[in-house]
Symmetry: D2
């Protein structure tokens, strides 16, 4: 019989917060009302380890992923947060010594978007999901999305408008020049047990909070429309985060107070070599006050 | 007079947790007892933003970095955590509306290491520092290091030893084959006000906790020595983290209980395409219990 | 009527070698005899630009990708190199001024692999494809794959065997310890007009050329088998590249002499912080000499 | 005596194009007329391998780097291309079987730049160097630089100017809005034996070829100036490459015809999720025609 090296008594008696495997790549098919998506996922999974045990049985983590994905062939997964939750649940069954389990999933994602003149293109996004919890204490599941958009700076625009006033004939309310740039924003929201949050809605919220969403194919007049829209709607990263928060409050009025929300926006500044960043980590309760 | 667009009243009344700049690249000279180091740093800095103000004045963050670095020409910086602390301090002065400030620094770092046969080579490491705190409540400073080393798996070694016993003549206590691989480990520790923690000591602790440290130049017999040492000292990622924790307890007996410690180890498994991971986030108080 | 800014006469009269778009993300379904694969692709496409024209019409590149992918819904793509070829072909139609076109595609890919004890797991790989050529001169298409495997070092093994001889009782032909590590190898091969090269075959060739392939799930005895196999089959990166070349010669005897082949192997050394690298860029003609 | 495993006869008789080590990290001090720079370098070095030999002696590559850097303490290195050349030279001495040698170096680099109102800030750049050649046939050395700047799109600007004409009162020659974004451009140029090329000049050429250079610290009016300058100087990636080529021709009139030049520009488009790219790979002879 093989010795259980991992199961041995630990030599120096420290418990560990998280032990597991990272960068596991898996292809998953998610089934939603509007159709199915083929998602290339990167998965990290962890359990804690008591001070009395030398090693965690890491191969069980991979078995759990494989089994959950196998079951998903007959019973399709409804979302990445459900998948993370199923894996997290089974981690407790297989690691009898674990009191904590955590699963993080990130995936590339594609959605049809309609450009200014109605042309449809598939745009790339990212999905994220997390499930974690203590044994017997319930599990916290989160679903998230990341989108790339465009921000135009309100500050430079105003400075320039002020500075040229009088010298050049003024353009009515037509926007003046500013710097604008690629922005990457992220929204993660907790999904309590009996509720559902649709990842596509999160992407809608993100894209509506930029100065303008961006598109793969823009012919001449479409390009002008996107640029004009962005400049009519100049935003700091701070504005992007707050506008996402506002839309989250409107959209998820039914979700309970304890729901956790994380919003992040980073602008790859065109006038600097560094980035501008804003973030809010909060709960719906705090936002509703 | 220019309008203060950032200083305007916020439109939708949410405070923000962290607003700032990321990926700022700076070259810093750090002066320690044993000489000076030229460090290429990547710096992220943040303050919070009250609900009543539209934008944070991001250019002030860059001015603060520039001023602190300029002062360091006449009064040399003694370490990255001191640098992070100085920047954090000045953030409160310049962002009068901020109640929280945070500075993160990462830097490439090089140290002379002596190989098995005494040959000296410069090996690359990473340093990390963090300073953060609430206005008027004191600041928490951390210094950290990351090192690359080698782990040999105790489990495969034992399975193989068991499975060949009887079939091949046994090698006394000479180690049998196992899988071994590149491991990246990290140690961060809080440095309370009147204490000092030397980053080089953290790197010593990390390197002594691998199955073996690794070296740039290994001639034939040195290579054999490193491989034999690693196999005489097989370790899971869990073992690496616990051995680091043991050495931290021994080394920092004078540091107070409230000191925070984070230890992380990741093995880029040779037998898998994914990584093995272990982590402990704790305080000296918890470790001493 | 909108001005064609790109179509204007160039101001300073230099032709450009490659002008286009990079990092275009697209999901593609590829249909092969053994089933269909959902591939997340990253696409770079270029044409050259004559000295007389100011700009290339970049949006046409995205239109070409979109149209080729749309056509693929009714007429499934048989492989990434065919997809690259179709896009390359259409680039000449849309960029009437172009004399050169080039398309590069990379994609994550998953295949069932059977572990030592027959257990099936989905393992992650990468596919690459390239199509390029001059207008009217025919097009060169290449298909490639990248796989992660394991190498055990023959040199350290031999040094250690020599050095312990006499001191420890020798193990018959059972391998002694060595360093082993994650290796990433790549094979790209040209696919002339009427020929077919199956990407799965390239992955077979790669995996058979490591000291051992690697697997996601290895229970105790499987793990031992992989480690023993790898040590019975120690390989330098040079050996990996040459073994891939040998298998390419055997497998593709029907392919003509002019076919280009690129093979690359990189070991993330466990005893060093740097990598070991070997490469051959050649033609079947050279290899057959 | 230890067996020379690498020196053994090769089993399957293929020569290899490049064998060596990659991702070697070294800190180098470069001494120029205007002062010394501390450079954190990433070095890749290769030699070829004849079909008759099993392995390249990789540790010799690291010894060569160490020795060249040690010599540089007493005899300071005058530039990265000189360093690459010295390493390349010594590779032939140590790898007696090699007929080809190649060295690539990349380094972070910092330079003082003066913003619109004269304020000095240290801005980050990258340096690159390459030395390669066949034994006894002379060596080709190249020095290069990479800079981040800003491009404003001429096409969107013109479309918008045309489309609003008549509807809004026109601004004289004041620029209308367009999209602008972060651009990363690269220039590499060969440095023949008795000539010198100053890397700082390459960075000057790059920064003067953007719509505007970018700066770390921009107070309100500086920010406006950068934005206005960029919009008064709208550029496609094609324009950036051609303007770099023009400046190269002007600056390096003394360099001989055979000198190789590579110029590349990539815009991280604000209105798209993908990038725009332009490149010219050429010689001074071609450019001068």
């Amino acid at each position: 019989m093989l010795t259980d090296v991992q199961g041995r008594k630990s030599l120096n008696g420290f418990k560990l917060t998280r032990v597991g495997v990272t960068d596991v790549k898996k292809q998953v098919t998610v089934q939603r009302d509007y159709g199915s998506s083929c998602l290339n996922c990167v998965i990290d999974i962890f359990v804690d380890l008591p001070s009395t045990q030398r090693g965690s049985h890491l191969s069980r983590n991979l078995e759990v992923i494989a089994e959950v994905l196998e079951m998903s062939v007959s019973r399709p997964v409804s979302g990445l947060e459900a998948l993370a939750g199923d894996i997290c649940q089974m981690l407790f069954e297989r690691h009898e010594y674990a009191s904590y389990a955590e699963v993080n999933i990130a995936a590339d994602y594609f959605l049809d978007r309609s450009g200014p003149s109605g042309r449809i293109s598939k745009e790339p996004f990212k999905l994220m999901a997390k499930a974690s919890g203590k044994r017997g204490k319930g599990m916290r599941k989160m679903i998230g999305a990341q989108a790339i958009g465009m921000t135009a700076c309100p500050c430079a625009m105003e400075t320039i408008r002020d500075s040229v006033k009088g010298n050049v004939s003024f353009q009515g309310d037509f926007p003046v020049i500013s710097h604008n740039q690629r922005n990457v924003s992220t929204l993660m929201i907790e999904v309590p047990g009996r509720f559902e949050v649709e990842a596509n809605d999160l992407i809608d919220i993100l894209e509506q909070s930029f100065s303008s969403p961006t598109f793969e194919i823009l012919k001449r007049s479409d390009e002008a429309t996107v640029v004009i829209n962005a400049h009519r709607n100049p935003k700091f990263v701070e504005d992007v985060v707050r506008d996402i928060l506002t839309k989250v409050l409107e959209k998820y009025q039914d979700l309970p107070d304890e729901v956790e929300v994380t919003v992040r926006s980073e602008s790859q500044e065109s006038i600097h070599k560094h980035n501008a960043f804003a973030e809010r980590v909060t709960s719906l309760k705090e936002l509703r006050e």
